[in-house]
Amino acid sequence: MSILVLAEHHDGQLSPATAHVVAAAQQIGGDIDVLVAGENVAAVAEAATKLDGITRVRVADNAVYAHQLAEPLGALLAALADDYSHVLAPASTTGKNVLPRLAALKGVSQLSDVIGVESVDTFRRPIYAGNAIATVQSADPLKVITVRTSAFEAVAEGNSAPIEAVDTVVDNALSAFVGEELAQSERPELGAARVVISGGRGMGSGENFQLLEGIADKLGAAIGASRAAVDAGFVPNDMQVGQTGKIVAPELYIAVGISGAIQHLAGMKDSKVIVAINKDEEAPIFQVADYGLVADLFEALPELEQKL
């Protein structure tokens, strides 16, 4: 078994997601290579060498891989894939963008959002917004898999794996990067935070999200949102938690002014402890909450901030 893990990185930093994917690769078993593809990614590669359990880090450093556009990255992976039995990436927007492209270029299926490894060819993954868990077996010669990072504990960092350059360069006349608008935040990343506090339509406005800020500061929490809050323009899209947003599984998830639609629950119901604050005692969110507080959030939040 020989596994290639596509490293996730942004702004010259290796993302924590990669260590979770390596953990999934370890459960499959075999040699694990990490591929760092991008432009000026020496520091990322260096950081990746520390990941426990990996054999080597392969680096494709070229302007054509800048911003990790799907067309060149898919072609690069397809060129490298013949050496491997499995190619894994986090189920991030980058992984989801690129891996199906690789799979189709190789004529194989792709398994999305894997949450469990049963054996080298059998995996578990959620379907229907997490309301069912499918166990699937793949007979494809190459298994192409995106991994739900919250389902695997990150590997530690005590390794010093060798780095090898990959010289494969592909053309890309199909797509070009134009620009990016990234949310600036001092807070932990949603997917990696130990505590997440999310606001829904009940927050009423973007300004009112400040009520969550003070609490997030005290708890070192990331701030999330329901789709309704994003659609209403209270907060940007990258804060959406749910079936079609981010999947989180923190130690503590606090849902404020969120009703608990199945699409929202799909993104947070694997959290260890769930707290719901909602003024409607019938709200479905209370069915998954360990601790429910029936209260007006405009009264409860300031009090909570003060008492923490």
Partner: protein, 250 residues
């Protein structure tokens, strides 16, 4: 330019599914079916391109059983000009759907293909990317804005950290995110008119595509149920429980 839109018939997004007692699959008997929400957004975007004079024709396509024609009729009622039904009763995986769509693209030669980013039944999020790979075309996935500029397409994409804009050469493949647009409802006269719009039927065999997959579904189980929790009476009690019972804050 011609726009091709792929629509999938799925369980209605409001329905809570049940797993069959023998764990073979999800139970879909007598369950309300509908067009995948992301496909509604795809149809809406195509129709708006036509209304703005950018698109000349909108063709809707689906792969599925006879009943999937309902979703094609919906697409026609929403403004598509004609429809193509690739009829099969088999379960067709994303790769096979992409292969079938590739054949349709070969025949129709659209300048733009719009798909949903994700079908809410399989939650796969892969068909558009696969179609792009098979046709050798660029892809603008998870689109929240699409602009045709001459022979280029500018797509704003919803990515984990925020938004990214890319420029693609045409023809291109786009997959829709939730905020691309807000789909309209079909009006009764349009639903009546849609019944007369052309709908062609083909089979995978006619298109020369083998739909069997190498992936076997071994079992389907309900997710672990969460233990019902308690209601706390006050913020004080909540803080106390989190500190001393759940021990998740200090």
């Amino acid at each position: 330019m011609k726009v091709l839109v792929a629509v999938k018939r799925v369980i209605d997004y409001n329905v809570k599914i049940r797993v069959k007692p023998d764990n073979s699959d999800v139970d879909l008997t007598n369950v309300k079916m509908a067009m995948n929400p992301f496909c509604e957004i795809a149809v809406e975007e195509a129709v708006r391109l036509k209304e703005r004079g950018v698109a000349s024709e909108v063709v809707a396509v689906t792969v599925g059983p006879k009943a999937a024609q309902e979703q094609l009729r919906t697409a026609l009622a929403l403004g598509a000009d004609r429809a193509i039904h690739v009829e099969t009763d088999e379960k067709v995986e994303s790769l096979a759907v992409a292969k079938l769509l590739q054949k349709v693209v070969d025949e129709e030669q659209p300048q733009l293909v719009i798909l949903g980013k994700q079908a809410i039944d399989t939650d796969n999020n892969q068909t558009g990317q696969m179609l792009a790979a098979l046709t050798g075309l660029p892809q603008g996935t998870f689109a929240s804005e699409v602009k045709v500029e001459g022979d280029k397409l500018r797509v704003t994409r919803e990515i984990d950290g925020g938004l990214q804009t890319v420029e693609l050469s045409l023809p291109a493949i786009v997959t829709t995110d939730l905020r691309l647009n807000e789909p309209r409802y079909a009006k009764l006269p349009d639903i009546m008119k849609a019944k007369k719009k052309p709908l062609a039927t083909k089979t995978p065999a006619e298109l020369g595509v083998e739909v069997a997959s190498k992936v076997t579904l071994l079992k389907v189980e309900p997710p672990a149920e969460r233990q019902g929790g308690i209601k706390v009476g006050s913020v004080d009690e909540l803080v106390d429980k989190l500190k001393n019972e759940a021990k998740v804050i200090s």
